[in-house]
Symmetry: C2
Subunit: 338 residues, 2 copies
């Protein structure tokens, strides 16, 4: 017997999986004995009724007739995607889950469930329940049951979140057409400014920090956009300029963006807003009527028209600041964080 | 710009996701520029037509009417689940994918697709295509398209494989009933003996090594068993003795196993066979008629009756060797590999 912190090679990670309850009294199959199930039990305690019927080899889910399944997987790794000093364990879990759920929003899908594959170093064991609490909060905010996962030992925390959703009207990033307008949800620039503050040894403004540690997957907005004529969508992960290039390339069109029109937090320029990644806002192509009918403004979420789609290829940037952005846009903005 | 080996914190992992082809000429959406997509492109080159429509935020899949979705996620981590010196990179990929696919077999499901979340250290970059080749071989052997994933940097190789399947007749591990017989597919003992050889500094016999590095997910057998009256199934990951305890606990029954009846490779005792994990064979409860109708014997896959299910709780072991196993079976067999 090895202690649980150093499982023998060949030891199987313990797994969570959803299955129909086998008795009315319990929603989970009983887990076997053994220290390696303790972490699972602790997470299940945190999740309560959010985790459904854990304990079988696979989770069982129903996909409603007339809908298609959407799946995506997204991994958040310590010191690659975040630093421990920046966020509480709960925020780390919340952010990892929301980042994954954002892919469902970008497809116009409703969440069906999520799976959590956690790699947990020894020095994270004590706060694993806090990480689980954050994942649970993000799952609750989007109505996603937690239907499975596994936990393994490792050198740094990694959270692999697989999200499942359903939609009758999937929106690809490849459907933008000549004449479409381009829109973006929300207000840009906060996450990048928070990262810059941390990386330079400072402390981010609270509002910037909140945008980084607690992004919101635009689930309801994505479904509304899909139902109201959006032709292409993606979520802003690399930054608007880079993500617009992805949309243009996938759709085989040219995208022209007016940087002066970008919705941005106070004190952030259009260039900076266009370079801010990790926003998890939606970039949307579609008819001009989208902005007129948009019902989420009252809830504090704007939809702003920022450009147009035309025949051609690539991204054209307009506005006072466009020259500065183009000058160093030799590759893309993915690695543009100092 | 940071080099791709050390992405800046905040950099997004590149992602693979399935989407309908937007032109007849290509099955993938075009990927953007940038070094971090190179690893994805290299893997896509290996997979060819096996990877379908990569490039959108989420993969789109159809779940046939009348079937339920089965999902499971399974992570294989270097030095936790395997050592690099034991296997080729291709075998590591193959084994990780088959271990995950085995969960579909245990549910009686047919594969719908799989997603690959790879954490790739610098010293694995050169052989990532070999790992991909192994994943592709396992996917091909089970008819599973590769529909998404992501790649991130990290300190050790970790392969998180999420599998999706469908079934009209899901089999839980919690359905065994008093009077059922207990069966196991295949021939046990090889993986444990291979591990013992490696851990003691030796070289495994070729046939034992093959069982460890290239397990087979019993997909067709699992579906056949589900359709022919199996009441409970799980795949052997911890070892028969420990997994039987999981089945007994989940089903609320007692399981009695005759160790002398265990199908085993030459030179392995019943005790050793019962302690061999990583087998990925199926442990099945159901009617005696299962063995009579079993159609896979001609293909080299036996189904052996090894015990019975009765009212009660726990696992009883019969046979000459049972005393020895019980004596040190104070916890379970998960960490029993030296």
């Amino acid at each position: 017997m090895n202690p649980p912190e150093t499982p023998a090679v060949g030891a199987r990670a313990h797994r969570l999986a959803h299955t129909p309850a086998h008795t009315p009294e319990t929603s989970h199959l009983p887990l076997g004995p053994g220290a390696e199930f303790d972490a699972v039990r602790a997470m299940l305690d945190v999740w309560g009724a959010q985790a459904r019927g854990i304990g079988d080899d696979g989770a069982l889910l129903d996909v409603p007739p007339g809908t298609r399944l959407v799946v995506s997987t997204d991994t958040s790794v310590e010191d690659v995607h975040f630093r421990r000093a920046w966020m509480t364990p709960e925020e780390i879990g919340y952010r990892a889950a929301m980042a994954a759920l954002s892919d469902l929003a970008a497809m116009g899908a409703a969440p069906l469930g999520l799976l959590v594959a956690a790699t947990v170093p020894t020095d994270w064991r004590d706060v694993l329940t806090e990480v689980a609490r954050g994942i649970g909060a993000a799952a609750a905010a989007t109505g996603s049951p937690i239907v499975g996962g596994d936990v393994t030992a490792g050198d740094r925390l990694a959270l692999g979140i697989t999200v499942l959703g359903v939609t009758a009207q999937p929106i690809s990033r490849g459907g933008a057409r000549d004449g479409d307008r381009l829109f973006v949800t929300g207000t840009l620039g906060g996450p990048r400014r928070a990262l810059l503050a941390w990386e330079s040894g400072g402390v981010p403004r609270p509002e910037d920090r909140a945008r980084f540690v607690a992004p919101t997957a635009r689930i309801a907005a994505g479904q509304w956009l899909a139902a109201h004529g959006a032709t292409a969508m993606l979520d802003l992960s690399d930054g608007l300029a880079g993500d617009a290039a992805h949309l243009a390339e996938a759709s085989g069109v040219r995208v022209t963006i007016d940087l002066d029109r970008l919705p941005r937090v106070e004190g952030v320029s259009g260039v900076e807003a266009a370079r801010s990644g990790e926003e998890y806002e939606l970039l949307v192509a579609g008819p001009a009527a989208l902005a007129e009918a948009w019902p989420f403004a009252a809830a504090g979420l704007p939809l702003t028209e920022i450009g147009v789609v035309s025949l051609g290829a690539g991204v054209a940037l307009l506005g006072d600041a466009a020259g500065a952005l183009r000058a160093d846009a030799h590759d893309h903005f993915r690695h543009d964080i100092p």
